[in-house]
Symmetry: C2
Subunit: 204 residues, 2 copies
């Protein structure tokens, strides 16, 4: 019998067709984001924010900023997955419970903070981190949705500046991906063909 | 009973301690990367490359470029997950089998190529896409490893320029993350505490 997670990875498709009658409750949205935020982030920064766009008018507004892609409004919820430019000042608080529980010495938390301060002094490194964290969270959101029997449709075809303005993102937040989540409707494509392993893998 | 994928997401830890006696065969490495590359990418570009660093000398060389983090050489394999700056010229080939199978019209493949050409004319958008694709692949690699009973340790603490030079990356390739994969040893931390949902989720 195939492992269920492997089956999920192998069978995942980027859905375009969603059941427009299906809705997600607050509790279901919260479960999805609680799982998404189990993804790893550098220094445990958790430099992300998830905006669950569920209201019909809000979905229409988002769709208009995403090349009118129907899945934005047809899915039960479309998440705006934001990466946040990392701020090393947040590290002590993000590690506080871990230090208090005795897993990590307080000096290590300080060392991490110093490391992060140096690393993110480079604006490109900070932006890369925002994109990386949000992408790790978005991937986890997709597999969580799949585990709950839901389809997901990741998108990066949208006007990032307009989404940032229209949805009130802070100046340190980047909209990295949209992920439509809901019950699939008939008519979705199968998974697209993959490149051969010889093109993408080198073993040293 | 908890869904196995949800359990995997909830229980995943970023491992630091690995069993140094454990090795991964070519077939196991190939399975991991075959699964990782099921992750989605924009326009199906699959703009990534995975370097599986398994040889002891190669692991030592990588460890020296990664702040001497022991897990780089203690794990069976440490993957250098590279993102590739997207090139819209690749799109027809990446979609060819899908068009030939009748799922997508050839004109749509051309439209995607034009869209990608315009989008990635902006170097920052191209870099973001390389980071995003590699991160989605790295996340999928971690869940695939988990499904196979292996631990994973994601890292971005390394000298990217030195890794690019030392491991012969092409000029359009960025080392986005390292992911150590192997059998865990005793002494790993539990999952670090997560921010409360109220800080990271907004429902509209």
């Amino acid at each position: 019998m195939t492992n269920p997670t492997i089956a999920l990875i192998e069978q995942r498709v980027s859905a375009n067709a969603f059941d427009t009658c299906h809705a997600l409750s607050d509790a279901e949205v919260e479960t999805l984001v609680r799982l998404a935020t189990r993804a790893p982030t550098a220094y445990n920064l958790q430099n992300w924010r998830f905006i669950a766009v569920r209201d019909a008018a809000a979905k229409d507004a988002l769709r208009a900023l995403a090349f009118d892609q129907a899945k934005v409004s047809n899915a039960a919820v479309t998440f705006i997955v934001c990466g946040v430019l990392p701020d090393s000042e947040h590290i002590p608080e993000r590690l506080r419970l871990f230090v208090e529980a005795g897993y990590m010495r307080a000096e290590m938390s300080s060392t991490w903070q110093e490391g992060a301060r140096a690393k993110y002094a480079d604006p490109q490194a900070a932006r890369d981190e925002a994109v990386r964290s949000a992408s790790l969270g978005a991937a986890t959101l997709m597999y969580a949705a799949g585990a709950l029997g839901l389809a997901s449709g990741p998108m990066n075809g949208f006007d990032a500046d307009a989404v940032a303005t229209g949805f009130g993102l802070a100046s340190d937040e980047l909209p990295v991906m949209l992920v439509a989540v809901g019950r699939p409707a008939p008519g979705n494509w199968p998974q697209k063909p993959r490149r051969s392993l010889s093109e993408v893998l080198q073993i040293l």
